[in-house]
């Protein structure tokens, strides 16, 4: 064990966490937004909304993320005529992929709200949009907060895949340092530790929220 290799390169490696967080936050924002739209479409009674959303969700849930990244990477030159930078390519792939997962979380959250709520809202004269906006979504969102936090932890881990298209996020930087210093054991244990610290904080928060929600329900 030679921990010097970590302290010497500490700043360089930790610097990659900024990009990791940036990727994760952009994915969460975009994924949540598109996820809500997809979930709404999937719950819709109109077939031209329901079928495309359902196909989209099943399609992307059936593929590995790494393949989606290649898809975007190879497809974008065909559409735009020039290749996409690694950063937007990664963000787009992550959003496209994770929104399918968000959609399923949101759908089950919405479906957990009893039909009586929707009926009461309609009976009191709210439009479909108002029902969703003021009655169903506020309750549903509270129910799904734990799952959303869990999914955010997964997204945080998934950002390490940006490695394959050469983005210098945290894992890539650890990998680069290893290529120069050849101290794999120390470096990958360090990388694992950093991810572990951040992700356990997230998992713990999700667990707490779940417990809190269970208590408030009874």
């Amino acid at each position: 064990m030679d921990l010097n290799v970590i302290s010497i390169n500490f700043k360089f490696m930790i610097g990659g966490l900024f990009l990791t967080f940036e990727l994760a936050l952009m994915t969460m924002g975009g994924g949540l937004l598109i996820g809500i739209i997809l979930a709404m479409a999937r719950l819709s009674l109109r077939p031209w909304l329901y079928y495309p959303a359902t196909v989209y969700i099943h399609f992307f849930r059936g593929l590995p993320l790494i393949l989606v990244i290649f898809w975007i990477y190879f497809l974008s030159p065909v559409i735009t005529g020039k290749s996409l930078e690694a950063f937007p390519a990664a963000v787009i792939s992550f959003i496209v992929f994770e929104s399918a997962y968000f959609a399923e979380i949101i759908r089950s959250g919405v479906q957990s709200i009893s039909r009586g709520q929707t009926m009461a809202a309609h009976a009191s004269g709210l439009t479909a949009y108002q029902t969703a906006r003021y009655v169903v979504l506020p309750q549903a969102l509270r129910n799904m907060v734990p799952s959303l936090v869990t999914q955010s932890v997964i997204i945080f881990q998934d950002t390490s895949l940006a490695y394959v298209i050469g983005l210098r996020e945290f894992l890539r930087r650890v990998n680069l340092v290893d290529a120069r210093e050849a101290r794999s054991v120390e470096l990958y244990l360090f990388a694992g530790l950093v991810y572990f610290a951040i992700c356990s904080a997230g998992s713990l928060a999700s667990h707490r929220l779940e417990k809190q929600r269970e208590r408030s329900c009874h």
């Binding site: 393949l67 990958y188 991810y195």
Partner: protein, 242 residues
């Protein structure tokens, strides 16, 4: 430049030597994920039982395992098994490994995927165990079974049938995660699609083909498992989706 400037050439999927490469890629994906799945099921069941056992040390080991493997990215674990793990072996073992195991990346992939999936399987299995009523345990003990026998003959077979749907999902996750082994050089289907692109500039076609392979296999597994589920489910014990 624009959309119509790209000429599709689907023959890249069967032309020599790319057709053979793709077939090999599909086979590698399949046997890698099945081997990893076998590790995951046995290890996962053991850890799941650990997590609900009455012994404090076993419970601690089980939950430490799950926490560590679930809170680090799979890619980090993969790199650890591939780059770091051999260095932890004693010198002679290391040399033996480098001399005699030319496809070490494949085995690192199997171990990494197996141990990672085990942590997910363990969680599913644990919730399966917890869903079994206490009466089953009491009944097993009162007929004179030891703790091991109670688990071996009563609880585990029960739990196993309850969690088949969850296991199907986990297998598919394992199968999809096998794509990440391309980062350490395993020639599975995703890597092959990418690799052919570097010779032909037809990555779009090969990636499409790889996607279809994943979707088709996932569909087959889902259909097969729903058939199995119907055969072996315990009446009244699975809350089936309406």
């Amino acid at each position: 430049m624009g959309f119509f400037n790209y000429t599709f050439d689907w023959s890249v999927l069967w032309r020599h030597p790319y057709g053979g490469l793709l077939i090999n890629g599909i086979l590698t994906t399949l046997h890698l994920s099945i081997l990893a799945w076998m590790i995951a099921v046995w290890l996962g069941i053991a850890i799941g039982v650990f997590r609900v056992s009455p012994f404090g040390l076993a419970r601690f080991t089980g939950s430490a395992y799950v926490q560590i493997f679930r809170n680090t990215p799979f890619l980090v674990q993969l790199f650890f098994w591939y780059f770091a793990a051999p260095l932890l072996l004693p010198k002679p073992a290391q040399e033996w490994l480098y001399d005699n195991v030319p496809n070490y990346s494949y085995w690192a992939g199997v171990i990494a995927l197996g141990t990672y999936t085990a942590s997910r399987v363990a969680e599913q299995f644990r919730s399966g165990l917890l869903s079994i009523s206490r009466d089953q345990y009491r009944a097993a003990y009162s007929t004179g079974l030891t703790t091991f026998q109670a688990y071996r003959y009563v609880i585990v077979p029960y739990a196993f049938r309850i969690i088949i749907p969850a296991f199907t999902t986990e297998f598919l996750t394992c199968f999809k995660n096998s794509a990440l082994t391309m980062t350490i050089g395993v020639m599975e289907i995703t890597h092959t699609a990418y690799y052919i692109d570097s010779f032909t500039w037809h990555g779009l076609e090969t990636t499409t083909a790889a996607s279809l392979v994943y979707l088709c296999i996932a569909l087959c597994v889902v259909l097969f498992m729903s058939f199995i589920e119907k055969r072996i489910y315990i009446p009244g014990m699975i809350a089936r989706e309406q």
